[in-house]
């Protein structure tokens, strides 16, 4: 049940517990216990909401920053990653294979705010060799959800 449960709430964390139990074919108490266990084990790390900010009056700028760093003796990239992810404006940090090392996803109110983060905070870090900042112009799909208009059911009403 674990993986099926996770697959469902990954798409819809607001689903009613009773309904969850019904569609999984188990008792409600089992769902409650499993969810608690998953939270304790750190499998479930939070319940977030997917928002298309472009449709709101709030302006937001998202940037993907490729960072090349010098790994430190005994700590690999973890220490550097930590120094970066502690900034609250940093949304995600990934260690990446290939041409650079860390992918930093940053969210700010304005372009200037993001660029000053890069030039004032990120780039000056001693182990940072280089950065390349890419601004997101449009989000088409996020977390598996397409942001475009929802499609209608175009099937015939009745078919054999």
């Amino acid at each position: 049940m674990r993986e099926e449960l996770l697959a469902i709430i990954e798409k819809n964390s607001r689903i009613d517990l009773k309904e969850l139990a019904v569609i999984l074919g188990v008792e409600e108490i089992d769902v409650v216990n499993e969810l608690q266990k998953l939270e304790e084990e750190g499998v479930i790390c939070g319940y977030h909401t997917l928002i298309n900010w472009e449709k709101t009056s709030l302006d937001k700028v998202t940037a993907l920053i490729e960072v090349r760093v010098t790994p430190q003796r005994g700590q690999g990239f973890d220490h550097m990653a930590e120094r970066i992810y502690k900034y609250p404006e940093v949304r995600s940090v990934y260690l990446i294979s290939g041409g650079f090392d860390l992918m930093v996803i940053l969210e700010g109110k304005t372009l200037r705010e993001v660029s000053s983060f890069v030039s004032d905070k990120l780039a000056p870090l001693e182990q940072v060799l280089s950065t390349a900042t890419h601004f997101i112009l449009k989000k088409y799909k996020d977390h598996g959800t397409i942001f475009a208009q929802k499609s209608e059911d175009e099937r015939e009403m009745i078919t054999p």
Partner: protein
């Protein structure tokens, strides 16, 4: 002017579904639980392969039997899923949907005018009976029972057999009931089939959609492969209804005759669809599983909802239909469905559209998102409560 129409065709009743369809299509804001096709889009990698084949200019006919690569993939699939071996060169025919395979299969096997009998268990898909008539056979209906979960029993089969019996249509997993035949059920009827030397047309279009044990094909039973035409397709498993692609696997002599009809009547199945289907068979297992899991969740949701409503319904383990009983309301299936549509604006299909013994039942499809199902089931609950309070008053 003379009457030019063929009596045989004129006498065929139009599909009971059609009649209901006309009522529904006039109602603008109705919602539906009436479709017999998946709500999912065809997985993108399959669609992409179809598009790519068009870009490459693969817009020619294929061989009559279908692309060799596709026939080979089908044989690999049959071996993998059912443990049955077919020769891709002689024992497979690619058809325009499973429907075509049903039609030409019957035509290849029936001698018109000799009243050869085709045994058709009902409730079942709407086309077996008319196709049997058009092929010149005499359809013999076996009325399945709810108490057997609409499975075909050896006794029921035995009772329907005469010395004219030739073919048994085996429609499992079943549309409209959602019934399945498990290994033990198949073994029981296989004995009767062998005893009376019958041929089987096994429509396994819903084979991938089972929720108990994996589907078992009757062709995998001892002595059955040489007397079974196994029909399957891409519509239900890969959500590819509009691509119109199915296939038949069977004895070489039957396939050869079917290929002849297919060659003259159809030429070949759509080429684009065939290229897409190769990709489906090669890389589509994960898609099937994802859809199957979603259907199963909805199935559980519906059964639970019926239980809460006190609506009688056996647990179906296949396809994407449930078949609840509405006999307690003292209405025919059609009356119930019409009234439900008029009062609550939800379309369901009366069980009688799939045979007379569907009387007292409804086919409810769960090829809809849970959100849609919830709205529709909310209305069904309201409707059922209204009916019950009236009968009590």
């Amino acid at each position: 002017m003379r009457n030019f129409l063929a009596d045989q065709v004129v006498e065929i009743k139009p599909s009971g579904i059609r009649k209901f369809f006309d009522i529904v299509s006039e109602m603008k804001d109705a919602i539906s639980l009436g479709v017999g096709e998946p709500d999912f889009d065809t997985p993108w990698h399959i669609r992409d392969e179809g598009i790519y084949s068009l870009e490459k200019g693969r817009t020619f006919y294929t061989s009559n039997s279908g692309l060799k690569e596709l026939r080979q993939e089908i044989c690999t699939y049959m071996k993998r899923k059912n443990g049955i071996e077919y020769d891709p060169m002689k024992q497979v025919l690619i058809t325009v949907g499973g429907s075509e395979a049903i039609d030409i299969g019957l035509r290849a096997l029936i001698n018109p005018g000799l009243s050869e009998e085709v045994l058709i268990p009902q409730p079942s898909y709407v086309s077996y009976e008319p196709c049997a008539i058009l092929a010149g056979a005499k359809p013999v209906i076996i009325n399945l029972k709810a108490e057997n979960e609409f499975r075909l029993t050896a006794e029921e089969l035995e009772a329907a057999i005469t010395d004219k019996s030739k073919i048994l249509v085996l429609p499992y997993p079943n549309n409209p009931t959602g019934a399945i035949m498990e290994q033990k059920d198949l073994e029981a009827i296989a004995e009767v089939i062998l005893k009376h030397d019958l041929f089987v047309i096994s429509d396994e279009i819903y084979a991938e959609l089972t929720y108990k044990e994996k589907h078992v094909s009757i062709a995998s039973l001892p002595g059955m492969q040489e007397r079974t035409l196994l029909i399957n397709g891409f519509s239900k498993a890969y959500a590819m209804t509009g691509w119109r692609l199915g296939y038949a696997c069977g004895p070489a002599d039957v396939i050869r005759q079917m290929t002849k009809i297919h060659q003259f009547a159809i030429m070949c199945a759509p080429t684009t669809s065939q290229y897409a289907a190769v990709e489906a068979l090669k890389n589509g297992d994960a898609d099937i599983e994802e859809m199957r899991v979603a259907y199963n969740q909805r199935r559980r949701y519906l059964l639970h909802a019926f239980e809460e409503m006190g609506l009688e319904c056996f647990e179906p383990y296949g396809a994407f239909y449930v078949f609840p009983c509405i006999k307690e309301f003292g209405m025919t299936s059609e009356e119930f469905a019409t009234k439900f549509l008029e009062e609550e604006k939800v379309a369901v299909v009366p069980g009688t559209a799939f045979g007379d013994c569907g009387e007292g039942y409804l086919r409810i499809s769960y090829a809809y998102s849970l959100e849609n199902l919830k709205v529709a089931i909310g209305r069904l609950k309201k409707f059922v409560e209204k009916l019950r309070s009236k009968t009590q008053a």
